[in-house]
Amino acid sequence: MSDYIDLDSLWKVLVIGLVAGAGLVSIFAAGLASLGASRGEDGTASSNPIGTVIAGLCFLIVAAGALLGIYVMLDK
């Protein structure tokens, strides 16, 4: 069966898919949650700067992940 399925690559694709795909999606979501929490329920007044900073960090990580993706894409 393993003649037909390259199991070695397959599990790598699945793990990286989970870490980079679901993982970065979650970090982005955490950024939004943090941004949302730093604002009032009505989505205005920024009362909590720490939340904004954490959100910024999350978005930076996601952007770095996207850049890494582009690097991998072009480095073939």
Partner: protein, 380 residues
């Protein structure tokens, strides 16, 4: 202009036509979710995707002059075989587009070439085990992989932002969607435009127009980039509607999770050399996005039809590729290829006319899904 130049010209034109259908068939992969959630207006979405495909085509550095490499004996490849293979791939692309079914353009091309090679050089020139390992099994694994990742991603995206104000959540994920869809578009340009460049380069080598060690001529790169971008811009609205509205109702967190998962899997697969089709990954991710959200409904009958189409892709394209080769071979020479070219063109035009009578376009692509691909006309 002698016969061999005419033959080469016919192959190049057919290859570029294939590239064009490759573009409009796959606009949906990157943009269906963004269009469905309103993150981008339909026109802006296809324009952005076209630009990124164009850039991607120029950024891909290595073009291999191969077609279905490892699957058919490369010694069996002649210009009529390349032509018939392209016709088989084109026929399947157009038919699946008409029915709004996403399907892999590379599998269609491989199928067409397999069918043509089979009749041109016999069964020995086709490697059956390679077909199973490189085409059939990945067609099953790609969507499963994508469903798993996107389900987890969607579930977490909703879970983490459960108490986030709706305004922040909606806008935030929409921006994320634009980014992730752009990444998938760029990846598509680097992968798929390259395939047609490889086919045309191979045709030039076979015809001894260029030496086997020469790089891809610049005009080939430019022509393929422009063609795939034009195809993307035209937008396969029928396929976009199936993926964006048909499979499941998509909200922006789901759209972002789906495209993020697709992007990660496509890049990981291409990095590790695992032959997953972009189309299969993106469709699987959208199903996963439906599964990951509580109470969201996935229309499994439609997903099942897509699955059947994916398994039929190779044999159906092979059949058409085989017939196209046999027909041109029986008539003989360049004339045979030219006649098949004209017949193919007439059939394609007929299909376009049929599609125009019940169009799906940028205006009705987002209409409520009522089980039908083409929305009912809304009374003015």
């Amino acid at each position: 202009m002698d016969a061999s130049t005419v033959l080469l010209a016919l192959v190049v034109v057919t290859a570029l036509t294939f590239d064009f259908t490759n573009g409009f068939h796959d606009t949906a992969n990157a943009m269906a979710t963004s269009i469905a959630t309103g993150a981008l207006s339909p026109k802006v979405a296809v324009t952005l995707s076209a630009i990124l495909n164009f850039l991607g085509a120029f950024l891909s550095l290595k073009v291999a002059a191969t077609i279905a490499s490892g699957i058919v004996d490369s010694g069996a490849i002649t210009l009529p075989v390349v032509f018939a293979g392209l016709v088989g791939g084109l026929a399947w692309n157009l038919l699946t587009w008409y029915y709004g079914l996403p399907s892999s353009s590379s599998h269609a091309l491989i199928g067409g070439v397999v069918g043509a090679t089979f009749l041109a050089a016999g069964a020995d020139a086709v490697k059956g085990s390679a077909i199973v390992a490189k085409v059939l099994i990945p067609a099953v694994l790609a969507p499963l992989c994508a469903i798993a990742v996107a389900t987890v991603g969607t579930y977490l995206a909703y879970r983490i932002t459960a108490r986030t104000p709706d305004s922040v959540r909606k806008t935030g994920f929409r921006i994320g969607q634009i980014g992730s869809a752009s990444l998938v578009s760029l990846a598509h340009g680097t992968n798929d435009a390259q395939k047609t460049m490889g086919v045309i380069t191979l045709a030039l080598v076979v015809n001894k127009t260029i030496s086997p060690h020469a790089g891809t001529p610049t005009w080939v790169i430019a022509a393929c980039a422009v063609t795939i971008a034009a195809g993307t811009y035209i937008g396969g609205w029928r396929v976009i509607r199936t993926l964006g509205k048909g499979l499941t109702e998509i909200e922006s967190p789901q759209g972002f999770a789906a495209e993020g998962s697709s992007g990660a899997i496509i890049l990981a697969a291409s990095h590790f050399g695992f032959p997953l089709s972009t189309t299969h990954v993106c469709s699987g991710s959208i199903i996963g996005a439906g599964l990951g959200k509580k109470l969201a409904q996935v229309r499994w009958s439609l997903a099942g039809r897509m699955g059947v189409a994916w398994l039929l892709t190779l044999p159906a394209a092979a059949l058409v590729g085989g017939i196209a080769f046999k027909a041109s071979d029986l008539i003989g020479g360049t004339l045979g290829v030219a006649i098949v070219f004209v017949i193919g063109g007439i059939l394609a035009a007929a299909l376009f006319m049929a599609a125009r009578r019940a169009p799906v376009n940028h205006e009705n692509v987002n209409h409520e899904w009522t089980g039908k691909l083409v929305p009912e006309k809304v009374a003015p």
